[in-house]
């Protein structure tokens, strides 16, 4: 099962390597990991997407909690939540493909944020599945480069991850 784990961690040097080291040392799977400081600059928030059985996910959250610098851990995929990922795609945009790319970008509610005579850079946000389907929808031979941030997530409604 795929899980989205959110955590707050002291914003200190080496904190990220404690988390990533834990995953590799215990052979847990990381699909994506994002991290940035929160509104309180002494703390960072991390979103980790991992795949594993319920037992493994339970161990992952316990092991994360055990790290001294980790303040709080929540598996936000246990309840209603929102996931978003940002992707930038550089595509070849010449001839009839130029118009087609613009259309596809519009359909997926993307934005073209860089334009040259032969290329576009399209900015797209959404959940992982949406970004995947955009990639599938366009002609693969036109894709020059893609970059994705990995998932960040937040619980719906009153559920809050805060100290």
């Amino acid at each position: 099962m795929r899980h989205v784990i959110s955590l707050l961690i002291e914003n200190e040097a080496g904190a990220l390597s404690r988390v990533s080291g834990l995953f590799s040392a215990r052979a847990y799977n990381i699909e994506s990991l994002t991290v940035a400081p929160t509104e309180d600059p002494s703390m960072s928030r991390m979103t980790i997407v991992s795949v594993g059985s319920d037992d493994i996910i339970e161990q992952i959250t316990k092991q994360l909690n055990k790290l001294i610098e980790v303040v709080k851990v929540v598996d936000i995929s246990e309840a209603a939540h929102i996931e978003r990922e940002l992707m930038l795609v550089k595509v070849r945009a010449t001839g009839k493909d130029r118009e087609e790319m613009k259309r596809m970008s519009d359909i997926f509610r993307g934005r073209i944020i860089d334009v040259t005579e032969s290329t576009y850079v399209i900015e797209l946000t959404g959940n992982t599945a949406k970004l995947d389907s955009f990639i599938e929808a366009i002609d693969p031979s036109l894709i020059l480069e893609t970059v994705r941030t990995g998932v960040c997530g937040i619980g719906r409604g009153d559920r809050v991850l805060k100290v």
Partner: protein, 568 residues
């Protein structure tokens, strides 16, 4: 008061009431050594190898309730210490390791004796710090001691660049430390404890299984009270020996890979299992699927939530400090006023006594070659069970665990988790320093002792009268045993040719050496050795090279699929 970083380190150690620092000097820690030199409150013990420093600090910590402290230099000083740190980490031993680092400006430039200490030690410490500002130093050391001894204990490393130990700042030792990210649970959940009490009172075939957590949290008295109140059988893990008196009739011996027949059978066939400060590791319960074949209700008390339901699913998890939780269970049982059904318990004990009747630790007492089991039994008799016993790793470790009856906690020091050969002698130094005048034995093999034999020199320098009991069979015995049983008698590299003359070696280091070759001489040699209160005596016992450790559960097999001694 304005002090240098080095002065601050020493002040902090004094504030923490550190008696001994085990260490080895080098370039990056010279300022710290200079300050050590100028005072006499904290005593420094100069080892001969950094691994020895950390094991000695470890032995000191295991045999007391204090935090062990080691001091090493950067680069090779740290990498030599890693084995010791990992050993302490696996067994949850409270320890603070102070390491020197190259000056801040040199970090990352592949400077002389530079190594990424925080990176290398990260997976084998409870936590580590690189101090980048002298103003953080005192608080960091305070945190290190706090982390090392609280919650599930463990080693904490503080890496101090040389310029930090030289620069100055205003010093004040923080009185208390609070960390928003670290708040170990103390009290167990009331609802869970209630459920546990209910299960214990309804049990028909109960079993109590306790580990190192009971020893580390000084909960032996509380455990004994509860065990006697309930009348249940109790077993200890290798790390938990001494947590319950081994000579008590409710004790069924150690369990696990080399546990007793009765302990393993009772563990497998019980209907309610109370696990206390133990972690169901592979050497203890064997194959988890086989273990799960018999349904039983499991109550698990541990301070570390991640130890619960890691290898075995439990029914009633109780996260908390072991003595507090045991106390609460005792009180609730007392106030309910009920006891488990007597008839069922009697039948269960009858079954256990039947298993006991197998006498699984039987060995050939008439042998004309010295049997290792006999040496340990005699060691127990001669020291009246009062010795602090440190062991290395291998067959001798198992024989010591099986045949020395530990009635008190913190008397048995061994590397249970990591299985570090070379642990015994340096650990014994730390124990001897913590308990001057007390009998300290190091039970070892000719393989293990040579892994840290240089510490004989440290023992001479500080007059540490450790008694070394070398069970010499000429083989890396445990390896040989596995090769005999599981690799068709092909003894690949397990025979150690060209052993030194240990008697002369001991003498060369300035100690007393004894060679013992006949069973009839064993007791006399041990008596003579322990009579020499001021001397380190190195006893080289020539034991039966073919002797194996039984019972044995092969790796991956079920707990009750034991190989028993040919004597049975």
């Amino acid at each position: 008061m304005v002090l240098t970083g080095a002065e601050i380190v020493i002040r902090c150690l004094q504030e923490e009431k550190v008696e001994y620092v085990f260490g080895y000097p080098g370039g990056s820690v010279l300022f710290i050594y200079d300050e050590l030199f100028k005072q006499d409150k904290v005593r420094h013990i100069l080892v001969r190898h950094e691994q020895g420093a950390v094991h000695a600090a470890d032995g000191y910590a295991r045999s007391t309730e204090k935090v062990g402290v080691a001091l090493v230099t950067s680069g090779p000083g740290v990498t030599n210490a890693v084995t010791g740190i990992a050993t302490a980490y696996m067994d949850s031993i409270p320890m603070v390791i102070v390491s020197g680092q190259v000056p801040t400006a040199y970090i990352g430039q592949d400077a002389f004796q530079e190594v990424d200490t925080v990176g290398i030690t990260r997976p084998c410490v409870k936590h580590n710090f690189l101090v980048k500002d002298v103003r953080d130093l005192a608080a960091t050391i305070k945190k290190a001691f706090f982390l090392a001894r609280s919650g599930r204990p463990g080693p904490v490393l503080v890496d101090i660049p040389k310029d930090i130990s030289a620069s100055k700042c205003e010093y004040a030792y923080p009185k208390a430390i609070s960390m928003r990210s670290y708040n170990p649970v103390v009290k167990g959940h009331q609802g869970q404890i209630k459920k546990a009490v209910q299960l214990l009172l309804e049990a028909r075939r109960p079993m109590i299984y306790t580990g190192g957590g009971v020893v580390l949290s000084d909960a032996a008295d509380k455990l004994a009270k509860l065990v006697r109140q309930l009348g249940f059988p109790v077993t200890n893990t290798l790390m938990g020996l001494g947590g319950y008196p081994a000579t008590d009739k409710q004790f069924v011996g150690m369990l696990g890979m080399h546990g007793t027949y009765e302990a393993n059978m009772a563990m497998q066939h019980c209907d309610v299992l109370l696990a206390v400060g133990a972690r169901f590791d592979d050497r203890v319960i064997g194959n988890p699927e086989h273990f799960a074949e018999v349904p039983r209700k499991i109550i698990h008390i541990d301070i570390d939530p991640s130890s619960i339901s890691k290898r075995v699913k439990v029914d009633v998890p109780i996260v908390g400090h072991v003595p507090e939780v045991l106390d609460e269970i005792f009180r609730q049982v007392e106030s309910i006023g009920e006891r488990p059904e007597e008839k069922a318990l009697k039948a269960w004990w009858k079954q256990i006594d039947e298993w006991r009747g197998k006498d699984c630790l039987k060995y050939d007492r008439k042998s004309r070659i010295i049997k290792p089991q006999y040496v340990v039994e005699k060691l127990y008799e001669v020291t009246k069970g009062e010795a602090f016993v440190c062991s290395d790793v291998g067959q001798h470790q198992m024989w010591a665990a099986q045949y020395y009856k530990f009635d008190k906690p913190r008397r048995w020091m061994n590397s249970g988790g990591l299985g570090t050969m070379g642990f015994g002698l340096p650990a014994a130094m730390g124990v001897q320093l913590a308990h001057p005048g007390a009998p300290v034995a190091c039970v070892t093999g000719e393989g293990s002792i040579q892994m840290c034999i240089q510490e004989l020199s440290t023992c001479k320098q500080y007059r540490l009268p450790v008694k070394i009991v070398l069970l010499n069979n000429g083989y890396l015995g445990m390896v040989r045993q596995w090769q005999q049983l599981f690799h068709g008698n092909r003894y690949a590299e397990s025979y150690v040719d060209a052993l030194p003359d240990f008697v002369r070696l001991a003498e060369a280091y300035g100690h007393v050496g004894m060679k013992v070759e006949k069973p009839g001489d064993v007791e006399g040699a041990l008596k003579e050795a322990f009579k020499r209160k001021d001397d380190l005596v190195f006893m080289d016992f020539a034991i039966d090279p073919t002797e194996n450790v039984y019972p044995m559960v092969q790796g991956g097999k079920g707990l009750t699929e034991m190989i028993l001694s040919e004597e049975l």
